[in-house]
Symmetry: C2
Subunit: 300 residues, 2 copies
Amino acid sequence: MARSDTRYREAYNRILAYCETLPPKAPIPSETSLAEIAGVSRTVIRRCLARMEELGLISWQGRDKHLLRAPLAEDRIAVPETPSDKNDLEQRFLDWVLRFDVPANTPLSVAELSRTFGVAQHDLKEFLAGLSRFGLVSRRPQGGWMLLGFTKDFAIELSDFRSVLELNAVTQVAEVPVDHPVWAALAQLRQDHLALKNAIDTDFHEFSKLDERFHLAINSVVRNRFIAEFQKVISLIFHYHYMWDKTEEKDRNAAAIDEHIAIIDALEARDAEAARLAAQRHLRTSKTTLLSSLRHHDLG
Amino acid sequence: MARSDTRYREAYNRILAYCETLPPKAPIPSETSLAEIAGVSRTVIRRCLARMEELGLISWQGRDKHLLRAPLAEDRIAVPETPSDKNDLEQRFLDWVLRFDVPANTPLSVAELSRTFGVAQHDLKEFLAGLSRFGLVSRRPQGGWMLLGFTKDFAIELSDFRSVLELNAVTQVAEVPVDHPVWAALAQLRQDHLALKNAIDTDFHEFSKLDERFHLAINSVVRNRFIAEFQKVISLIFHYHYMWDKTEEKDRNAAAIDEHIAIIDALEARDAEAARLAAQRHLRTSKTTLLSSLRHHDLG
DNA sequence: TTTATGTATTAAATAATTAAATGCAAGACT
DNA sequence: AGTCTTGCATTTAATTATTTAATACATAAA
């Protein structure tokens, strides 16, 4: 019960490592500077110093602190390893939802999710609270959460929103100076598209990666924290759905390659209007594909 | 320590109210149906029944439950009133940030916020986690949260994002059928704008409300959960900043009225391109105003 | 066979608890 | 004097423990 002392333990080892760089019998800097070195508060530093004194590593009386002997490997303190990264929780969660085809309106148990993802319950709750801002999950009246996503309405609204963002991005690309890295990226993408088009009969499943690269390049010109946040989620969802809808995959991908090239053509000609139209055409296809992949799933 | 029994207390009173509708000595329905009536689980219902039996309100043996006497006012159980609504927390929080001009990079104390807003700490944490999705707040390495918002970059990106959403909305309005309620709303708005323009010398501060109504009407045609979520935050921020930047308020508002009317003109002529251009002009003005309001704050 | 109840298990909300951060005053050193 | 350092006290935050509530399943009654 009560919070862990991981912060202290990590700080302790960090301070120990710092002391190894000091000459023998060197004076030890002030608590404040040690706190800065370890990136923690003075409270934690004092705990560290207390332990170091106890172990006979240092002498400590008031502001007189001296190193008595060089720290050894066995002086280090054990840190409870974090069971699982908490940063890529979003990636892993969406992956889980899509990979296992978790249907819409599924109740989500925080306790269970906490186990499967190896993340503390309240961290998960915070995460879900964040997702609820995207309308992906919501609180249930009787407590807990529920997955809302991946109904038809959701897919339509997601596609529409994606279109709005992406058309904006395309328009901006057309107005960007020639020395912007996006032009090099697009030139490379054109070659890779043409190469894949030639080998489409065998390598058509390679398109998914290419698609992601293409849209990432287009959106890279937009520097906007709000849009960036959404793009992460959007691209993940589209990516997976494309991968799993296997109906007419080869034909779909071949068509998409042409659509991508049409966009690149228009952009390199700096024809913003043509690029918008080409992008619109492509996004309409994407929307249809996403919707049909849902329909296939509904039917079994 | 441990969760409150508010759910039980509310259910109890609800069941009592239901029993008042029953005739004397009536049999009481099954636990499952009572659970449905009160909107809680059977566990809670059984607690309710136990208390009702204890008070002599009902007899209860196995599945034989009968009303013994009509419930009285004093049979009701006290429910701890929720100190403060938790739903409008967003409104109140943003209001607080903007009204007190909380500067960017201010550490936010969950404990303190919890007191000022009368909301439990973990509810606040969930709320902040949600806001972090909008890039308004973020976690601090040493724990807690910090307000990021309302730097120049933030304002620029917010304005740009707003423009993207709003230009999309304007385009959609132009394509909406004649019987859509937006047309009636716009007709009314045109009149109100003209009326305010005539009385601009005295009533210019009335514009803020009109502005909000105008943008709400435009955006009402877009049915999209993602966009709707953002619009709430965006409109609130712009609304407050407009209200507080008092420099040349009268002139600004007069100009904005003309810009609004220009948009309405183009829309009623179903000229999507002209409407986009008019909206673009207006949004550019808005952005400038928002930025200058920040600049004024920085200097004083 | 259906429906209701009894019982057990699991999950969720929330306060208690400890770790850590912060604030302030007094003292030491330059 | 003035700055830096420490000692001490207070406040805050993370995390567990605990209670309430929901759910699952078995059993019994209709």
